[in-house]
């Protein structure tokens, strides 16, 4: 497993050529069809949703879209979803529940978008609703953090039966930069924050936030996207088979307890 510090991983996941969901979706899923819109307001390009097959079985895929260049990033708002993105995700998750197919969420976002329109359309409510609805969704949910798992904007697609992280992915309550800026009033202390915050896959495994680490090729996913996709695929086939063994009641009980037990306090 990786010996890199959080700061070093931060630069790995910022590598220009790091694969995104646009690379992974064709490598992982067959017959993929993108489905658009939240049926209330619009379609958010920061989240791709759709149906396809994995190992021959139907699945629903919900994925946050980092761009591979500035043009793509402008189109997908640097993977910072608006409320309609989260509502599209919920619509597709409910649809998956109806047809009893697993939901696979690919998480890669700096966070939910912060802006006037996002507030007007209820960014807080949209995220909250997903947390509650995903908790009781009657079909297996697997979330994989591909690169950046930023705050509530990531969590809204990460209430799941199992969370996996790519080896160099990070998942945090706020970006290290934001952390340094708020707690120390000094955004330049980003690396120090990253190394303090306990945000690597190994850290999150210890906390019980993450269940599995998916290895990346030496030097990072960008050195071999196909091999990385194979590693993801290997994990997915294993986990989907395992989750399929539970009946719905057991599945939901396990999901509830996964989050229920997280907390550090004395009494």
């Amino acid at each position: 497993m990786s010996e890199l510090t959080a700061t070093q991983r931060l630069s790995v996941i910022r590598e220009k050529g790091r694969p995104t969901v646009r690379d992974y979706i064709p490598l992982l899923f067959g017959n993929f069809l993108e489905l658009h819109g939240d049926r209330h307001f619009g379609d958010d390009a920061a989240i791709i949703g759709g149906i396809g097959t994995f190992a021959g079985r139907p699945v629903t895929v919900i994925a946050q879209v980092k761009g591979r260049n500035l043009e793509e990033n402008k189109l997908s708002n640097f993977s910072m979803p608006h409320p309609e993105g989260y509502r599209k995700a919920l619509r597709l998750a409910k649809q998956a529940e109806k047809f009893r197919r697993p939901v696979i969420c690919l998480v890669d976002t700096p966070g939910a978008f912060c802006g006037i329109e996002a507030e007007k359309r209820g960014q807080g409510e949209a995220i909250a609703r997903n947390l509650m609805e995903f908790m009781t969704l009657k079909t297996p949910i697997v979330s994989i953090v591909l690169g950046e798992g930023g705050s509530g904007g990531a969590l809204a697609l990460a209430v799941c039966d199992e969370l996996a992280m790519l080896e160099n992915a990070l998942y945090s309550v706020i970006s290290p930069r934001g952390f340094a800026s708020i707690l120390w009033k000094d955004a330049s202390r980003e690396s120090e924050a990253a190394d303090l915050m306990k945000i690597t896959a190994e850290d999150l495994l210890k906390f019980g936030v993450c269940e599995h680490i998916i290895p990346e090729p030496d030097g990072g996913a960008h050195h071999d996207p196909t091999l990385t996709a194979e590693n993801i695929s290997h994990y997915l086939s294993e986990v989907l088979q395992r989750l399929a063994a539970y009946d719905t009641e057991e599945l939901l009980e396990k999901r509830y307890n996964k989050f229920r037990k997280i907390g550090v306090f004395s009494e």
Partner: protein, 303 residues
């Protein structure tokens, strides 16, 4: 009354307390210093009133109706039937999951200063004789940010209410997730939302009362999940911080942005209710959900 006159009156009333600090006076020779504790200056409209009068008005600004921040004690006193509140999990305190430097010390200082162990107080009480689970967040305690203890106490409150077929009323106030607890604080959003889902599936009622300020990860979890969402007038409600938004979009924001009134207009709260009408509003809501009154009525709230 002009502020200078008001100041003079207050000064006469308690000469001993108002010796201005010499350094400050030098710097602000032309400005009138407001003696701390005797006057209240409204952060919304700037109106200055006697603190006594302001508190008698349930800590509401008489000029603009801003419903200001109050302690959990005052909230319970003005909400619950007299002497009916029983606290749950009172002794629960934070640990330091990411070894954030100075966190234990800060918590210890706040416990001392605020006379409470954490940022939320939960328990059972009666409101107009309806038995209910109640939770009150207190912004004096680290801006009522949500760490493990807040998440755990709220989760237990919902689990208790589910088991005992009781409604839950939460008074929300928060700066958001408690960053000093790292990812553990983010997970509390999911944990509390799960407990609310189960309470809801059991057919029980959850009422949110959003108070000043309800923001960040609390808005993006349990605060937004009430069956009925009430907000107090003029309070701040939102997801992202005002400054963060301003930095992102590089433009000025309207004054009423992220106010209770803004949230009502955009469809995210059911009603804005003044403090003085809150008990009777909650009572009507309980009544309409077929909860039955219990025990002997022992009079209204103390305040």
């Amino acid at each position: 009354m002009a502020i200078e006159d008001l100041f003079k009156v207050v000064k006469d009333r308690s000469k001993a307390d108002t010796k201005p600090r010499p350094e400050k006076q030098k710097k602000q020779a032309q400005r009138v210093e407001i003696p701390q504790g005797l006057l209240f200056k409204c952060p919304r409209c700037g109106t200055v009133t006697y603190r006594d009068d302001f508190e008698r008005n349930k800590s509401v600004c008489a000029a603009c109706n801003y419903h200001s921040r109050i302690s959990y004690r005052e909230r319970i006193e003005m909400t619950a039937d007299k002497d009916t509140f029983t606290e749950m999990d009172a002794g629960m305190t934070s640990l330091n999951p990411i070894d954030f430097p100075g966190y234990e010390k800060k918590i210890a200082e706040l416990r001392e200063k605020c006379g409470m162990n954490e940022a939320v107080v939960t328990g059972v009480c009666r409101i107009h004789r309806y038995e209910t689970v109640i939770g009150v967040m207190d912004s004096n305690f680290m801006m009522a940010s949500m760490g493990s203890v807040v998440g755990e106490k709220i989760t237990r409150a919902f689990e208790y209410a589910t088991a005992h077929k009781l409604p839950v009323v939460l008074f929300t106030a928060s700066g958001g997730a408690r960053m000093q607890e790292g990812i553990i604080s983010l997970m509390q959003m999911a944990k509390t939302s799960g407990a609310i889902a189960r309470h809801g599936e059991a057919g029980q009622l959850y009422v949110t009362v959003m108070t000043d300020p309800t923001t960040g990860g609390v808005t993006a979890s349990f605060a937004s999940l009430g069956d009925i969402i009430i907000a107090e007038p003029k309070v701040l409600i939102g997801f992202a911080g005002r400054r963060v938004i301003q930095d992102t979009i590089k433009q000025q924001l309207p004054d009423d942005f992220q106010s209770a009134e803004f949230m009502l207009e955009n469809g995210f709260v059911d009603m804005i209710v003044e403090r003085k009408s809150l008990r009777s509003t909650l009572s009507k809501i309980f009544r309409t959900h077929n909860y039955t009154r219990d025990g002997d009525y022992i009079g209204g709230a103390a305040k």
